[in-house]
Symmetry: C2
Amino acid sequence: MAYDLILQNIARHINLTPGEQDHFISLLKPEEVKKKALILREGQLCNNIYYVNSGILRAYHLDKDAKEATIMFALSDWWITDMFCFINCQPAMLFIEAVENSSIVGLQKKDLDQLLIEVPKFERFFRIIMQNAYIREQLRVIQNLSLSAEERYHSFLTKYPQVVKQVTQKQIASYLGITPEFLSSLKVNKTKN
Amino acid sequence: MAYDLILQNIARHINLTPGEQDHFISLLKPEEVKKKALILREGQLCNNIYYVNSGILRAYHLDKDAKEATIMFALSDWWITDMFCFINCQPAMLFIEAVENSSIVGLQKKDLDQLLIEVPKFERFFRIIMQNAYIREQLRVIQNLSLSAEERYHSFLTKYPQVVKQVTQKQIASYLGITPEFLSSLKVNKTKN
DNA sequence: TTAAATTCTTAATATACCTTAACTCCTTTG
DNA sequence: CAAAGGAGTTAAGGTATATTAAGAATTTAA
């Protein structure tokens, strides 16, 4: 397991000394996950935030009718967790599964909390990570409120072309908040126009 | 204009020395806004993040059919801005208006950037602010995807009882992503059951 | 390599929510 | 205080999207 990618990810925002880099890496728990394996289940304590080295993860929620709502896809170089439950030490609301075989690293809540105290530079790093995540979700809320299903689909295609290649339409539909049948019919109309 | 409230807001997460407090306060621009006044318009540069001392603000987006989508309400003790445009120095996508006469303080982007460098403790503070904002938006996305209009309405009533008292139903409807007419009909059914 | 399972598609029917419109009740403002 | 505009309500009719079901295509697993 190479840590280049995650160190680059961090170096985009803060500069670590070699010692700080080593300390940070010592906290990481690398993990290889097989396609369809779950790294988090609803109801479990969510103790880890994950960085995706390669592969792709998907976080989803199951509603009372067992319908899936995809909350996010995490490609290579993304961070993912059930943030509410991670921060508040609550049982997870989300499932996180590997869409493809993936290589990830986990960082435990207690280790992160201590890291933020010992190396306060990381506060800046995670401020930026959280800020970007907030902005992403806010843009999604805006689109959910003001675009039709078809418009959201096209926006998704242009915003996440890499994800489109790696996940099923059923999963894209559950991200957009529509049924796979309706997504299928949208594609037909697109070809016709 | 008293700065107790905003200092308490900050003291909930970090400890400032008296000197740091004074420095921080020197960066703030207090402003009294009248009901219905806009403090940000779509297309303007969004140079400020605002803290609400008293009153209530509303951020909304206008879609291509001039339909409003309410993105957030900010009560007393909340922070609000068009985060994407604030961070990226882009023209705003959002309008921010005062729902009632409000007393707010603005903090300019350039002053915040410098503050984060001069007093790095603020990185922790804004990390927590961004984190909470991210969690809020993510919960909203989950609800938008998995609840019916009626369920979202009831959830809103219990989550933001204070907001319910201060804004119109039209504004609540535009937050929920439904028409005021439909919200009105939901209330009738609730009474009947 | 085949059987089983899952995904994708198509189409008919159903429904949650929208649109329009008309009326009442408030609130704002001159 | 009167007039005008906006907010809330109700109801009829319309549309975007869901549901159900069945067959075809693809993937998974034995």
